[in-house]
């Protein structure tokens, strides 16, 4: 038996005092397999040891919440016996190492989190952050990540309807690849992961187990590897075809009542799934590892417990249901094996080749996982940038063309077209606007509005305001399609938490998010934390990606950003001060990355949001776009390009200089376009609601012009907007 040396402990990422605690729990020295189990369960990824005390501050309750954080995904009531189940996850590091497979298996993982709860996935979204376009690796990473996400989701037949893609040198060595899935289930058919029923069979289904992704203990595991002529790759390869079969087989089994509990095998595979199921159920599990379906020969207990092979699930079945369940999985050509049973010992007991190779008390393994209140310092508040100090654009038209051709604002069509965003036939509002709208299957009228958002440059400048802004931007995007925002999931991507300033960013973002969620009745129901996104002391910009979902009671009453007709009046909802701090204009046109980000007024967000949503729901507005990155003029241009109709704009009375008025990124704003004879009534309604509303122009023509003098043709705008990404990728 391998002697556990301090080196081996360190290889497993356990600190000396953490190992002391292992010894106390075990009452003896653990063997290598047991050490491996502690190491993964107590890793940052599984134990949330640096983030847990702060995550507790997020509001997670509300009448709509059926299941908040703690299960595989969050569950929200959408009425008529239906629930939306959703979550977001990161696959940052694997995607940097092997972009195609890393991104693909990220999608595979988040899909399993959702269908393991009984939901059929109806949408995928993928917020992505890459390094500078000039960085030598960026193009290769973009192309691989996008192909991988498409490769997996397309084969699964789940439409990919949204996400983000921005570029910044802070991500040169650490790209972010996040993926969100939304599914629909019946509220009386939701599956949880708590094991129960002493003696019940533990069943393994899906793909066979190989030596995929076993990291940490390279040295320790090397000695088990008889074929060590090549260094074993730690990346996992996904098989979306098998996952599609697994999805169909699981849903078929779930239609009956054979399942007591079910849990996907994600990170730390068999270990985390079995430990979590046992811990939630307050029971023990006994596993016979010889019965685990294996792809490779001579696998050790250590390898089986730590393997991250994809497309696998663990279930507890009711007694006597094994054969019926097996028939379903065999019909779909999948492995099915009874590998153990539920026990009353409270221990995870592993047997292999006739011997007990592991015996760990489950409760302390999970409950006594390390918990750190890491030192943190708040991010100093940056100074406000005065619009007058920022060089004005002499020609707003030319500036607009430049803005639309920047990497962050350009069209992401090159990406969207590689994703099947129409499969299922339920995509009502396609990607490229604000939220996507997807019809709820098997319901006559309901639709879901779904979006992901975050503005890392705001979070970097001021994590509290940035955290708030990420939440409200999802709220606005959902509202702009007519949806009522219900709840969010998040993916917290940060640098090294052991640096107090990074920890301060994390704490600040959580504070801002919490405040926004509370004010908007918009709780967090699931999420994920990805720390250590950092190479050689340079971390990513703090990126709390937020995924929001909202409900449309009637999907035929939705709005989209596309101008539908000429001669309509363009109205601006919300107030404009001309905020240029941390804006795209400041960064990409004026070459300055500084200043306080636009402040978020949560009361105004709610007031303006309720007003706009009401108009859409009453069928008074079908064209709406929220104003975000790039400001007002960029938003107008996006609406114009989507509809192929220009606009004639006139600057209303304002104290702001022109460039600040049109490119400032003040929050809480929407653009709507309405037929002329509705304007008066809408103005009156706004007054009554205390909402600021200004007429800013009229739709029509093939030019966007401001105050007569500043002009950009749609053709020039389209070329800049549509051209950048394909040209970059082909260069």
């Amino acid at each position: 038996m391998t002697k556990i040396t301090p080196e081996i402990v360190a290889e497993h990422g356990l600190a000396p005092d953490e190992y002391e605690h292992v010894l106390a729990i075990m009452g003896r020295e653990p063997n290598l397999t047991e050490l491996g189990i502690f190491s993964v369960m107590w890793s940052e990824h599984c134990s949330y040891k640096s983030s847990r005390i702060h995550l507790k501050k997020l509001p997670t309750k509300g009448p709509q919440v059926i299941c908040g954080p703690g299960e595989n995904a969050g569950v929200v009531d959408i009425g008529d016996g239906l629930a939306a189940i959703f979550k977001m996850e990161s696959h940052n590091h694997p995607s940097y190492i092997e972009p195609y497979q890393g991104a693909a298996t990220g999608v595979g993982g988040i899909l399993r989190d959702v269908f393991t709860m009984g939901a059929r996935p109806i949408a995928i979204l993928d917020p992505l952050r890459f390094g500078s376009p000039e960085h030598p690796k960026t193009k290769h990473l973009v192309s691989g990540v996008v192909a991988g996400i498409g490769g997996y989701g397309n084969c699964m037949g789940i439409p990919n309807v949204g996400g983000e893609c921005t570029f910044h040198p802070a991500y040169d060595g650490n790209i972010l690849v996040n993926a969100m899935t939304v599914g629909i289930a019946h509220t009386d058919k939701i599956f949880y992961s708590a094991a129960a029923g002493i003696g019940n069979p533990v069943v393994y289904v899906g793909s066979k187990t190989g030596r995929d992704g076993i990291h940490g203990a390279t040295m320790a595991s090397a000695e088990f590897d008889e074929k060590s002529e090549e260094k074993r790759p730690t990346v996992q390869v996904g098989d979306p075809f098998v996952e599609k079969l697994l999805l169909e087989a699981c849903l078929e089994l779930m239609a009956g009542d054979a399942i007591v509990a079910i849990q996907d095998m994600g990170a730390a595979g068999l270990t985390s799934s079995s430990v979590e199921m046992a811990s939630k159920g307050g029971v023990g599990l006994e596993l016979v590892l010889d019965d685990v379906p294996q792809r490779e020969t001579h696998m050790t207990a250590y390898e089986m417990m730590l393997s991250e092979s994809q497309e696998r699930m663990l279930m507890i079945l009711k007694p006597g249901r094994e054969d019926a369940a097996r028939a379903i999985f065999e019909k779909w050509g999948l492995d099915f094996a009874v590998i153990g049973k539920v026990t009353d010992t409270g221990h995870l007991v592993l047997k292999h080749r006739g011997e007990v190779v592991g015996d760990i008390p489950v409760a302390p393994l999970t409950d006594e996982a390390p918990l750190y209140d890491r030192p943190w310092v708040p991010t100093p508040k940056p100074a406000k940038v005065l619009a007058a100090d920022v060089p004005a654009a002499n020609d707003l038209g030319a500036a607009l063309v430049k803005m639309l051709g920047t990497p962050d604002l350009c069209s992401k069509r090159w990406i969207v077209e590689q994703y099947d965003h129409l499969v299922g036939g339920d995509t009502i509002v396609r990607p490229g606007g604000d939220a996507a709208v997807v019809r709820v299957r098997d319901h006559a009228t309901k639709g879901l509005a779904i979006t992901t958002d975050c503005t890392p440059r705001y979070c970097f400048a001021d994590p509290v305001e940035g955290g708030k802004q990420a939440v409200v931007e999802t709220y606005r995007n959902i509202t702009a399609t007519g949806g009522l925002p219900l709840a969010i999931t998040d993916c917290m991507n940060f640098g090294n938490p052991q640096r107090p300033n990074i920890m301060g960013q994390f704490v600040g973002a959580i504070e801002g998010m919490s405040e926004a969620c509370l004010a908007l009745d918009y709780p967090v129901v699931s999420g994920n934390v990805s720390l250590y996104n950092e190479t050689m002391g340079t971390g990513v910009q703090p990126t709390p990606a937020i995924g929001g979902i909202g409900l449309l009671e009637d999907y035929t009453r939705s709005a989209s950003i596309r101008f539908k007709a000429a001669g309509e009046t363009l109205l601006l909802v919300g107030e404009t001060e001309g905020w240029l701090g941390a804006s795209i204009y400041l960064r990409d046109l004026a070459g300055r990355e500084d200043g306080a980000p636009p402040p978020v007024d949560l009361a105004a967000e709610k007031r303006n949001g309720d007003f706009v949503r009401g108009l859409i729901r009453h069928g008074e507005v079908v064209t709406c776009h929220d104003v975000a990155d790039g400001g007002l003029l960029v938003a107008v241009a996006e609406m114009a390009l989507a509809g192929g109709i220009g606009a004639t704009l006139a600057t209303p009375e304002t104290d702001a200089p022109l460039h600040a008025f049109w490119f400032g990124e003040d929050q809480g704003r929407y653009l709507i376009s309405v037929v002329v004879d509705r304007v008066e009534s809408i103005v009156d309604q706004a007054k009554a609601a205390g909402v600021s509303l200004q007429v800013i122009g009229t739709t029509g023509g093939d030019v966007i012009s401001v105050d007569g003098g500043h002009k950009a043709t749609l053709a020039a705008l389209r070329d800049a907007h549509e051209g950048w990404l394909p040209r970059y990728m082909a260069s």
Binding site: G157, F241, E417, Q418, D420, L422, V423, G425, I428
Partner: protein
């Protein structure tokens, strides 16, 4: 019309097409498992739906074309029964030889999902009877391997016999190379077999049958079938 939609492991647009058929014919099609050996009695139309049968591994459609049900599908076609293969279904038909040609990797080497325009090249079939000759329609594509290829002799026959059902075109109806999403030879998007009872096509008319999803140009194909096979 009695329709049967074959479900292969990895099919993913079976429900989309079943709903489109139901909207057109007011009859719910039957789903048939690839491992079955018979079609439901009285089947008029067999649909091979879109998706990634067998993961599209080896060659798209290759493994599915050898499924037990395909023998019954071939018999059905030989008897004059109608068969439509859409996207992956077209790839399966090509692999079985029920329609000529092959579908290669898109010229861009990338998966492509977007609306395209198609010119209806023949209305002389049960699939296209409700369209106007030369009509330009808008429907989406979603595939990585839709680059149609056939040798010159085959192309000559196809064109000579009016068996090209659809070609990719511009919004104005021009058959230009840049209108093709995949590099298909002569912009071919769909072809008929010799007896005109089997159609293979890459685009997805089933995803364009309702105003609320963006248009109804695809509905006419199902309407054609419902009328012809009433």
């Amino acid at each position: 019309m009695k329709a049967a939609v074959v479900v292969f492991p990895g099919s993913n647009r079976e429900r989309d097409v079943a709903l489109a058929l139901k909207r057109a014919s007011y009859t719910t099609p039957a789903y048939v498992w690839h491992g079955d050996t018979e079609l439901p009695a009285g089947t008029d139309l067999v649909v091979l739906p879109g998706g990634f049968s067998y993961g599209d591994y080896l060659r798209c459609g290759a493994m599915a074309s050898l499924s037990p049900i395909m023998r019954a599908v071939k018999d059905h076609a030989a008897r004059g029964g109608h068969v439509i293969g859409i996207c992956n279904g077209f790839q399966i038909l090509a692999e079985t030889g029920l329609v000529p040609g092959v579908l290669m990797r898109n010229a861009s080497l990338r998966f492509v999902c977007r609306d395209v325009h198609l010119k209806v090249e023949t209305t002389d079939s049960a699939f296209t009877g409700s369209y106007l000759p030369g009509q330009v329609i808008r429907v989406p594509v979603a595939h990585a391997e839709g680059n149609y290829f056939a040798d010159d002799e085959t192309l000559k026959r196809l064109e000579g016999e009016g068996r090209v059902a659809f070609r990719y075109c511009t919004e104005a109806g021009e058959i230009a190379p840049e209108a093709s999403p995949n590099g298909a030879i002569r912009n071919i998007a769909g072809v008929l077999n010799e007896k005109r009872n089997v159609l293979g096509m890459m685009p997805h008319p089933e995803n364009m049958t309702e105003t609320v999803v963006g248009g109804t140009d695809g509905a006419l194909l199902f309407d054609s079938l419902a009328k012809a096979l009433a």
